[in-house]
């Protein structure tokens, strides 16, 4: 199906998923206006959110099934219609759905009877979809702001918690700072090329019109802005405090969905608009190395699981940056695959952490997990799978993801980056394995050590989906890889032959219920 984006009918079709989600968000807001008092209202809002996410995933699926593509138009398009957008949309919707499922229990346990929580998740997901699909720097920026403003509020949704207020405030200040960098960068790129459309910028750069200092400074400012959002070292300072202070499901959402959205936008902007500019390869090279080394080394020193996972998410930003540095050609499939695997393992780990943290208690230390395997063997097994996948152990999706990033980096001639990735992964064993050792090899300190650790049925469902996905993609990555391969940015047009329908079932299973 070829969509001519200059006609309003086809443009509306191309925007169908976003329009569906917007309509649902209005319905949800009206519902909340009348029903916002009891726990039942909160559950109702959560169910409506799940329906919204599922129907949006269906709309994305419809576009994907019909192999929707944009017709080449003289006018710059605002939104891309390609498989990269569809795959990232499923990823965002899936991460949001898993977060909502995880939140039912958590919100009631922490007495946060605020149905706006779910509305904010919907708004943030809409922003993510605009970021993953935006073919214009302004659309990417709008999506980023919609996402960021919603997540600032989500970080501080627990108004009684001082740590939550600190997290929200820090995130807001640094996020606004980063947004302004990004906006200045967009302004300078516009000044150098006379356009904000990604393809139009690429055409200008290719024609040699955009060379020079102004474009280079603009690109550098863009990289700084995105660097803050994806938490690359040296722009990672906010991560531990914000992840630590936010409610755990929100942290899971930030570490998976928000980071994935920022990466998707970064990948598309660099790959589509600036692939002819040589300067960013070197910058991203240094960012990747610094992020991998610093993230992994500081994570070694953490005792609290949440902070350890925060630094681990910094380190994983470094691995993803390796795929970005490999460039859109070889790096695209590896990038998408790793993004899906990373989302699953992060969500699973944080879901288990949310179950362990009792009401009001913040810091779960690694030693607090001692003897978990004897008391809750299944939960310990799930957490062990998540840790092994984060480590990149063979048999899990994390291993396949790292393998493909390595292959992409070496085929792009980035041998140094590949070596850094392997070495820092070895370092990371030093903080992932102690979690497993504590659970399986240390005795339970007392009989009451794990009392009150409850996951709930929905939490079990989330963890099961994550663990099953990690193991499945670790053993049979082919289908997801095929999908990721056709999802390359600005690659050749995907063939008409569509892979079998359930290709992405595990990636967005929860949205399809």
């Amino acid at each position: 199906m070829i969509l001519d984006l200059s006609s309003s009918r086809d443009l509306l079709l191309a925007l169908l998923p976003e329009l569906v989600l917007t309509a649902w968000s209005l319905v949800l807001l009206l519902l909340i206006a009348w029903r916002h008092r009891t726990a039942a209202d909160l559950r109702l809002a959560g169910c409506v959110t799940l329906a919204a996410l599922a129907s949006t995933a269906g709309a994305v699926w419809w576009l994907w099934w019909h192999a929707a593509r944009a017709a080449p138009t003289p006018l710059a398009a605002m939104i891309a219609v390609d498989d990269f957008r569809f795959v990232t949309d499923w990823l965002f919707l899936g991460a949001a759905a898993l977060t909502v499922l995880l939140s039912f229990n958590y919100l009631e346990r922490e007495q946060l009877l605020i149905p706006e929580y779910h509305a904010l998740i919907v708004f943030a997901t809409l922003g993510m979809m605009l970021m993953g699909g935006g073919d214009d720097l302004i659309v990417v920026f709008l999506g980023l702001e919609l996402l960021s403003v919603s997540v600032y509020v989500l970080a501080g949704i627990n108004r009684k918690s001082a740590a939550g207020a600190e997290a929200a405030f820090k995130y807001f200040l640094l996020g606004a700072f980063a947004s302004s960098f990004l906006l200045y960068g967009i302004a300078l790129v516009y000044g150098a090329t006379g356009t904000t459309g990604l393809r139009a910028i690429a055409a200008q750069v290719g024609a040699g019109a955009g060379g020079g200092t102004m474009l280079a400074i603009g690109l550098a400012l863009l990289l700084i802005g995105f660097g803050f959002k994806v938490a690359a070292v040296p722009f990672h300072m906010w991560v531990p405090d914000v992840y630590d202070g936010s409610p755990t499901p929100v942290t899971a959402y930030m570490a998976s969905g928000v980071k994935a959205a920022a990466f998707a936008a970064l990948f598309r902007v660099l790959g589509e608009a600036f692939s002819a500019v040589a300067a960013w390869h070197e910058i991203v090279w240094w960012l990747a190395v610094a992020t991998m080394v610093v993230g992994n080394l500081i994570a070694l020193a953490q005792r609290a699981v949440k902070r350890m996972l925060a630094y681990s998410s910094v380190a994983h930003a470094g691995y993803l940056l390796v795929a970005v540095a490999a460039g859109p050609g070889p790096g695209s499939a590896a990038f998408l695959f790793y993004l899906v695997a990373y989302t699953l393992m992060t969500l699973g780990a944080f879901a288990l952490l949310a179950a362990k943290g009792r009401q009001g208690e913040r810091d779960v230390l690694i030693d607090d997990l001692a003897g978990l395997a004897t008391r809750h063997p299944w939960l310990a097994f799930a957490l062990a799978v998540c840790m092994l996948s984060l480590l990149g152990f063979p048999g899990t999706a994390g291993f396949i993801g790292k393998w493909y990033i390595l292959a992409a980096a070496t085929s792009a001639g980035q041998g140094g980056l590949a070596a850094a990735l392997v070495l820092t992964s070895v370092i990371s064993a030093g903080y992932y394995l102690p979690v497993i050792m504590a659970m399986y090899m240390k005795p339970e300190p007392s009989a009451e050590a794990h009392v009150g650790m409850r996951l709930g049925r929905l939490g079990y469902a989330v963890v099961t989906v994550c663990v099953a996905g990690l193991l499945f993609f670790g053993v049979r990555p082919n289908r997801l890889l095929d999908l990721a391969r056709t999802g390359g940015v600005a690659g050749p047009p995907a063939p008409e032959a569509i892979p079998a329908a359930p290709a992405v079932s595990a990636a967005h299973a929860p949205t399809a219920r």
């Binding site: 200059s6 309003s8 917007t22 209005l26 009206l30 206006a33």
Partner: protein, 124 residues
């Protein structure tokens, strides 16, 4: 490229020089004879009523924010109205323009209903 902006730069320099010059001149030329009345902060000629660091009710910020949101609606309506009068961009027609604005107003109306029902407009 620099040429058209040179006059702006010149203006900027003149403005800064003017401001700095006036303050410097008043410091250099005047003789200071302070009295308590002269030391008071200037508040339109009135004796000051209180400390400037007064705490505002948080409601104030809420209302200010809502005001800005609905103020922007008007800011959008004006350019829309002029384009609508001229018949819109070639190829789209005014029907599309009308629907677009109706959608925009619908979204704002939903926000308004939410704010109203949630009690943000009540001051107590």
């Amino acid at each position: 490229m620099i040429q058209p902006y040179a006059s702006f730069l010149l203006l900027l320099l003149l403005v800064v020089a003017n401001a700095v010059g006036m303050i410097a001149a008043s410091h250099l030329i005047t003789r200071r004879r302070p009295t308590p009345v002269k030391e008071l902060p200037y508040e339109s000629g009135m004796p000051p009523l209180g400390d400037a660091r007064e705490r505002f009710s948080v409601k104030f910020y809420l209302v200010a924010m809502l005001f800005i949101v609905f103020d922007i609606e008007t800011v959008f309506l004006f350019p829309w109205a002029t384009i609508f009068r001229d018949g819109g961009a070639p190829g789209t027609g005014t029907g599309f323009l009308l629907v677009e604005m109706l959608v925009f107003i619908l979204i704002l109306a939903v926000g308004y209903i939410y704010v109203w029902k949630r009690g943000a407009l009540e001051w107590d």
